[in-house]
């Protein structure tokens, strides 16, 4: 459990407090334009295969391989409330993704775990990670190498859709399968 600690000084552009900063002086993270595209166009639960999101010409999802509808398109697996089991209707996405990874060992992907906005924020980070890990385990069971898959949990911090009803929550309880460039 010993891991190297990464310490970096991020001085450039760090936010200023002393005196009277202008709004544009505030630190802007060096990752503009990498937001998750809106998935509201997708019918929730509309079974399997190409649940591809994106395609929005203006979507801020540049920087990833496989946007659009090709074999490496971003796919989304949805979960029930407070659950991290992969439902049968998403088995095909898992199988399809596993095939792509085993066929090309240089391919890498990131699993982004998300929750709806109910409950506490940090505990939701844990739930999002648990969902991402459920997909990771399913891929490894189908022969995917551990090194090809990474996970990240955004908890409730990056909803796919805004709203406070079951329809919105259902679209936010998800793992996004993102192929890396």
């Amino acid at each position: 459990m010993k891991r190297m600690l990464l310490i970096a000084l991020a001085l450039a552009g760090a936010a200023l407090l002393a005196g009277c900063p202008k709004k544009h002086n505030v630190n802007d993270a060096p990752v503009a334009g990498t937001q998750v595209p809106d998935s509201s166009g997708n019918a929730e639960g509309a079974s399997t295969s190409t649940n591809a999101l994106g395609g929005d010409a203006n979507s801020a999802s540049r920087g990833y391989a496989g946007e659009g509808t090709g074999p490496l398109a971003r796919k989304v697996i949805y979960f029930d409330f407070d659950k991290s089991e992969i439902k049968p209707e998403y088995a095909e996405i898992v199988t399809f993704t596993a095939h792509a990874l085993t066929a090309n060992s240089r391919l890498k992907l990131k699993l982004e775990g998300n929750t709806d906005n109910r409950g506490t924020r940090e505990y939701n980070i844990g739930l999002g990670e648990r969902r991402a890990q459920a997909v990771r385990r399913a891929l490894m069971l189908q022969g995917v190498a551990e090194s090809q898959v990474s996970t990240v949990s955004f908890g409730a911090e990056r909803p796919a859709v805004e709203g406070e009803d079951e329809a919105a929550w259902a679209k936010n309880r998800r793992v996004e399968v993102v192929f890396l460039p």
């Binding site: 600690l5 407090l17 990498t34 937001q35 998750v36 924020r121 890990q133 406070e164």
Partner: protein, 432 residues
């Protein structure tokens, strides 16, 4: 008479910022019948107030917002005395005031003001406070908070927290174009300053015990990292960027360590402590469930945390010594998470699920461990105690928007702070 008074020179720590604006509108959602009636008489002529700042109104607003006082409306005042010698105590008693604050304000040159104020007990005609404060124009707001602090403490015997600050996260814009801001503001929401801004999520601000720095989680690398930022200089550094999660920083009471949450390769979240000087990590919990949301005990020897090791999330406490076994503290209900201790550690505030909603509750750490649910919302999360323990600030939702709210530690007084913009999240009250 005033020769005896201590003279307090106020240094304006906060410079006026052109873009700072009144962020909050306070709405009292639930009152308190035992609120103490008190009048704060305007300190100065209308001309001087217009030219500078209405200090008496700020004092009145602070005291009213505490929920402990019922302040008299100015239009109901039949006279406006500026010094004790001019108070007709019998008249003020007939108007049902227990206390009266009077004062005067003089301009001393171009940007210097002198405020003299007194607090009287209307029934005994006894003078309880008498002070003089000088301040420049931007310092008048701080001067008002100091007066409110002094009045609050004199009458209630509890240190006032009106001069303190809060940090919170504000999310601006809509999908897919969101901006996340970490903001530090005065406790009344005024003087908001953006200390960090990102296109990716920011979360879990935690104050250093000396109030000089914030630790928080930033996803600016599209992965979570824990940062520590010094507010005065703006310098910030990454203190944790391991593979997997880096979450929920919490400062130890001596300021030397952070408790935080890291994960193993297979995604198991556990609590660790990190020495901020040596970066040495110590694992505190080791359980396959989600262990998160650490918070130190006052003596720095134990950590309160959330764990779902027994099914749903519950609150536990564990000593930081190796081998110490966690002890479960919450047993009512299936969801109890994110504990914060009151400043005297007699109470835990946390989020509980009740009737399908998430609400703020407290657990009495003395005696039988009584639980009291303080709020009635559906999305009440992220409670944080004021440093005097009298009030909690928390995040809730109102008409589809994230707002902040206050509730007294006994649940009797509730207020909503309505902001002009943004989704407000995760308020964290700074120490004194």
């Amino acid at each position: 008479m005033y020769k005896q008074l201590p003279r307090l020179a106020l240094i304006a720590l906060t410079l006026a910022c052109p873009w700072a604006h009144a962020e909050f509108v306070v709405e009292v959602t639930k009152g308190q019948t035992e609120a103490i009636p008190l009048a704060v008489v305007p300190f100065a002529s209308a001309e001087l107030t217009a030219a500078s700042f209405d200090v008496a109104q700020l004092v009145s607003d602070d005291l009213a917002r505490s929920g402990r006082f019922k302040t008299m409306d100015r239009k109901d005042m039949i006279e406006q005395p500026h010094a004790g010698a001019n108070i007709s105590f019998d008249d003020w008693r007939r108007l049902n005031n227990d206390y009266i604050v009077v004062g005067s304000m003089q301009a001393l040159g171009t940007d210097r003001y002198s405020i003299t104020y007194e607090l009287y007990n209307v029934l005994t005609k006894q003078r309880l406070l008498g002070f003089q404060i000088s301040a420049n124009r931007p310092g008048l707001r701080s001067a008002g908070h100091q007066i409110a602090d002094a009045v609050f403490e004199k009458i209630l015997g509890i240190r006032g927290a009106f001069s303190t600050r809060i940090a919170y996260v504000s999310v601006l814009g809509h999908l897919p174009d969101k901006t996340y801001q970490l903001i530090v503001a005065d406790a009344d929401g005024e003087n908001p300053r953006v200390v960090m801004q990102s296109r990716e999520p920011l979360m879990s601000p935690s104050w250093s015990p000396d109030g000089s720095s914030l630790a928080y989680v930033s996803f600016e690398q599209r992965l979570p990292s824990v940062y520590v930022q010094t507010l005065k200089s703006g310098d910030r550094r990454i203190v944790s960027a391991h593979a997997g999660v880096n979450q929920a920083p919490a400062w130890s009471p001596d300021g030397q360590k952070l408790a935080l949450v890291l994960s193993t390769r297979d995604g198991n979240l556990d609590i660790y402590t990190m020495d901020l000087t040596t970066q040495q990590l110590t694992r505190i919990t080791d359980d396959p469930g989600i262990d998160t949301e650490p918070q130190w005990s006052k003596d720095g020897q134990s950590i309160y945390f959330t764990s779902d090791r027994a099914g749903g999330p519950q609150i536990y406490k564990v000593g930081i010594r190796p081998g110490d076994k966690p002890r479960r503290l919450t047993f009512q209900g299936s969801y109890n998470a994110r504990a914060r201790i009151s400043p005297d550690e007699t109470q835990l505030a946390f989020v509980t699920q009740e009737d399908g909603g998430y609400r703020i509750a407290t657990l009495d750490l003395r005696g039988r461990g009584d639980v009291q649910v303080l709020t009635k919302g559906h999305f009440d999360v992220s409670p944080s105690y004021a440093p005097n323990g009298a009030v909690l600030i928390y995040a809730t939702r109102d008409k589809g928007r994230g707002v902040l709210a206050l509730v007294s530690a006994d649940g009797r007084v509730q207020q909503r702070l309505v902001s002009s913009e943004g989704e407000l999240q995760e308020p964290a009250w700074a120490p004194f």
